[in-house]
């Protein structure tokens, strides 16, 4: 295992790539009581079209299948894996995002045994027709729960207004209709293609002995047989730079209307450092404008266009990316227009050095604060690892940023054709 020490952060990471391709990272934190492990595959809701392992023709699978598969991984022929964790006092969970499916647990005792359970259950699928049918009822209720959440509908509506073909616009859980078509065989196909160790990352953080845990994982993996790794062939439709729909309206019962503005990203840098710099810049600009200390936030708040629900987020991946800004408002058109204007005005704006340094300090403090959480470190490290970047190194890059670079970025960032709006409103009111 390679040992990497990050002096200023007072953290050390042990890393290894096993012969089956699995990447393993261990972050010992002896002060903590618990340990947290997360086993992630680089496979999410956007991976709809691909060439299955050992085949040559591309297929397209039903919407929501990665999430369905995540649910079904916990069920084995004779038992529910949640119980295996419960028996050892651990709490387990899983989630599916656009690009990842992750299985995780935290425990304050029997870490090795829990880790064995984690590795073994994710690497030993069992699907039957009967259990697949039964799961449909549960997932239907999950989908209906999300359908009743106006914030979720607004968020997804904005993504749908930005993207025309790219599968990021497909609901992560699919729809009540699409999941009906999922079969046991589909699940196996997706599983064997995307759950190969070479497509996965294991991260363990907390109160563990890194050498001992590293050896344990290695032994566990060497005792299993996997097909030789094949490069994955995923297919994505070509997506126009401009948004699909400038303005989308959703009619549903809401107490207060919502307006979100989405900015679609294009030309995402291949170079890892450039990619991360772009993220930092976007993050800093959004903070400068729309955080509680932001200049636009102040105006919007004083004009009574926003309330505490106002927020923004930015999400960049290898082949898609977006920023979403907005919240509850009595005047959705007015809010959307104001946000759009402030984005479009950026071209002519410059950030002064003082504000830049304030933002830089703030980001550094925020990162230190987030590092109180093992979950945060494990999840972020895994996310960046899959993008080919060392997360702890990115914190170093933050300090190297220069405000003139940011001003250059500002000048080219926004284009009106890449901005869309989504308004959620109740037509009865």
């Amino acid at each position: 295992m390679k040992r990497h020490n990050y002096e200023q952060l007072n953290e050390t990471i042990y890393s290894d790539q096993l012969s089956n391709g699995l990447r393993v990272h261990i972050l010992p934190k002896p002060e903590m009581t618990k340990a947290y492990a997360i086993f992630t595959t680089n496979y999410g809701s956007i991976d709809q079209s691909f060439v299955p392992i050992k085949q040559s023709e591309s297929i397209t699978v039903p919407d929501g299948i990665a999430h369905f598969l995540e649910h079904k991984m916990f069920e084995k022929e004779d038992r529910d894996v949640f119980q295996d964790f419960s028996k050892r006092g651990a709490s387990a969970n899983a989630y599916t995002s656009f690009t990842k499916t992750a299985y995780l647990f935290s425990a304050t005792a029997e870490v090795k045994e829990n880790l064995r359970t984690l590795l073994n259950f994710v690497q030993d699928p069992y699907f039957s027709e009967e259990s697949v049918e039964k799961e449909k009822g549960i997932i239907e209720q999950e989908i209906q729960m999300y359908n009743d959440q106006p914030d979720w509908r607004a968020f997804f509506g904005t993504i749908k207004s930005m993207y025309q073909y790219h599968p990021v616009q497909i609901d992560i859980a699919g729809t009540v209709d699409s999941i009906q078509n999922i079969t046991k065989d589909d699940l196996y196909t997706c599983y064997h293609t995307f759950y190969h160790p070479s497509n996965m990352v294991l991260f363990i953080a907390g109160n563990v002995d890194p050498e001992e845990i590293g050896a344990f994982v290695r032994e566990n993996q060497e005792n299993k047989n996997f097909e030789p790794a094949e490069p994955l062939k995923r297919q994505f439709p070509s997506e126009p730079k401009a948004v699909a729909e400038k303005e989308k309206r959703i009619d549903m019962p809401v107490a207060v209307p919502k307006a979100l503005v989405g900015l679609k990203e294009t030309d995402l840098p291949e170079d890892p450092k450039e990619f991360v710099k772009k993220e930092w810049f976007i993050d800093m600009i959004l903070d400068y404008l729309f955080s509680k200390s932001g200049i636009e936030y102040k105006k919007l708040y004083e004009e009574g266009l926003i309330d505490q629900s106002f927020s923004y987020e930015n999400h960049l991946e290898r082949n898609f990316g977006f920023t979403i800004i907005g919240g509850n408002t009595e005047d959705p058109e007015g809010l959307a227009e104001n946000i759009q204007h402030s984005l479009l005005r950026l071209k002519e704006q410059k950030l002064d050095e003082e504000s830049f340094q304030r933002l830089q300090r703030k980001k550094l403090g925020q990162t230190l604060r987030a590092m109180n959480s093992l979950e945060f470190m494990a999840n972020q490290y895994t996310h960046y690892d899959m993008l080919g970047v060392d997360f702890f190194e990115t914190i170093q890059w933050l300090e190297d940023l220069h405000y003139q670079e940011l001003n250059q970025f500002l000048h080219d960032w926004i284009d009106e054709s890449r901005i869309a709006t989504c308004i959620v409103q109740s037509n009865q009111s």
Partner: protein
Amino acid sequence: MRENVEEVISKQGYDIHLLHTKKFKTIHIAFKFVTNLSRDSITKRALLPYVLQQGTQNYPTAIALRQQLDELYGAVLHMDSSKKGENHIITVRLEMANEQYISSQTSLLDQAIQLLEEILYRPKLEGNGFDPQQVEREKQTLQSKMTALTEDKMSFANTRMIEEMCESEPYQLRVHGYREDLEEINGESLYQYYQKMLQEDRLDVFAIGDIDELDVMDKINQMIQRNTQQQLTQPTTQQQIESSQTIIETDQVQQAKLHFGYRTGITYDDKKYPALHVFNGLFGGFPSSKLFLNVREKHSLAYYAASRVESHKGLLFVFSGIAPDQYDRARSIILEQMEQMRTGDFTEQDIQETKDMLVNQLKETLDNPQGMMELHYQQVLGNSQRSPEQFIQEVQQVTKQEVTDVAKQIQLDTVYLLTSEDGDSNEAS
């Protein structure tokens, strides 16, 4: 070196809790003001956290205050109001990076404490009260918060159930207050109330982090002038329930919310309190609990079905999200699980696993700064000598007999259903 110890020191008019730990890269300072829930003050108390964040004498606008926080390496100011049992709590929390991780800064803690003092004791004033314009604006913010809450159907259903269940008890009060009170609140009356609160509420101050050599206590003591510390009164006692009630209401929802309110008669200081938590773990606290296994896994009726203990009033809640036409079935399955708890239909092994999970959960909570504070604050609210560590030990001693005794003592008070307007079949095709 002190590590993972709590020191509680009674000062003039308040208590200070020093939680020494090296787990975190930040330092937390929190002020907790608490008094009895009362219809007369609830809306003022709900409004105060919003108004206090609008500025101080030196930083007279929200943006000036926020930018000063950014300067302090993104120190985070958080204020909220909450209800625990029949107490209303206002928490003012400041979290800052521990200066040992920042090379260029040496007096971050001093500056942060100074700012906190300003926020609490030198707010922005106009004449004899808070700035009236800011107060008016924040009333709007609070109003939209009240409105938005009706959109989160799970929390709305829970609020409605408690209003029905505790109709004549202070516990039924809404933590965000009431719209009709807002009109008569102005800058002056709110400031008067605030002065009274600063003096008369019970005050507990928490300092958490690697604070051993930082003199935190003296620094905090310099800013507080109070004479007496309020002793909390205990909540109204349980009423004997003759028969349970069922309340059915409708809304525009696709998923129905079926909630149950029980009376346990057991609060934090009760000797049965650890057994109540073991009961809850078996019944509905975990994915291995009866509710999850039977309502979700066995019958596919819900995406979630869980229970939660209310520690300071002696209540227990069950939450589930179901298809509207499954009400009768879900209701009888949930009631059946409670019956099984009473008759002891669970094994010694189930009990042991539940205890392990509870202990795991509690220890994990102590790995998080806020969790650590809240667990210690339980003792204050419960007027109890039971520390989190002792609670963990007592959980491990609970017997099956104690669990069934608790189960027999728990009485159903209210069943609450929030369902779709067309009443029954809304199941997706």
